[in-house]
């Protein structure tokens, strides 16, 4: 019974580690397909919001499998995952605003572009069909 659980845990760890690295590589390759810098910032979020937390959780499970349970390690892992999700979201927001203000070319279909419009100019209708 213990041996079966150990094998199941090893499979789970392998899936988490390789799957997380796969998300990172996918994000890097998608950087070639995205057309403007705002899309590239969007493409980054699977890597930092899903790929790296998967690797961190897989590493925690491997430490658990080898060394046994430790409360401090669990706490550090939880803080790391939360920080990755929250920090990368806030950082993407700051970076996207800076990228737009720095005058990097954006896809002309991008809507709304409120940073470019005077106050009281009315609402922009978001783009519907993406062809």
């Amino acid at each position: 019974m213990i041996a079966v659980l150990d094998v199941a845990l090893m499979v789970l760890i392998a899936v988490l580690l390789v799957g997380g690295a796969f998300w990172m590589l996918t994000a890097a390759l998608s950087m070639f397909h995205a057309r403007d810098s705002l899309s590239r910032i969007n493409v980054l979020s699977p890597a930092t919001g899903l790929g790296l937390p998967m690797i961190v959780v897989g590493a925690f499970l491997e430490h658990l499998r080898v060394d046994g349970f430790a409360t401090g390690l669990l706490l550090k892992t939880v803080i790391t995952v939360l920080a990755l999700v929250i920090v990368s979201s806030v950082a993407s927001n700051v970076l996207a605003r800076a990228a737009y203000l720095s005058g990097a070319p954006v896809d002309p279909r991008t809507a709304p572009q409120d940073l470019e419009r005077a106050p009281g100019e009315g609402e922009q209708v978001p783009h519907r069909d993406d062809h």
């Binding site: 580690l17 890597a47 800076a98």
Partner: protein, 86 residues
């Protein structure tokens, strides 16, 4: 088990190489900043994996600090992009 870890290290290394190539061929500075961010997070993943290979718990602390303070690098890049404007 170490085969899995080495495969993961290989995937992350490939990600860093692809990212650096993209930095070299990126059309504008904002794209370079984004891909540089991706390379940074790949480095964090490599720290975690090296901690697994050496069975050292200090790598967990390093990854924790890197993920909490990683926003500083991004915000610094954002300020550089806008030449100091907010």
């Amino acid at each position: 088990m170490s085969v899995v870890i080495w495969v993961t290290v290989g995937l992350l290394g490939a990600t860093i190489l692809v990212g650096l190539f993209r930095v070299a061929t990126a059309p504008d500075a904002a794209s370079r900043a984004v891909v540089g961010d991706l390379v940074f997070f790949c480095g964090v993943g490599l720290i975690v994996l090296v901690g697994l290979l050496n069975a050292s718990a200090a790598a967990v602390d390093a990854a924790l600090i890197a993920s909490v303070l990683g926003i500083l690098a991004t915000v610094a890049l954002a300020r550089i992009l806008t030449r100091g404007r907010r």
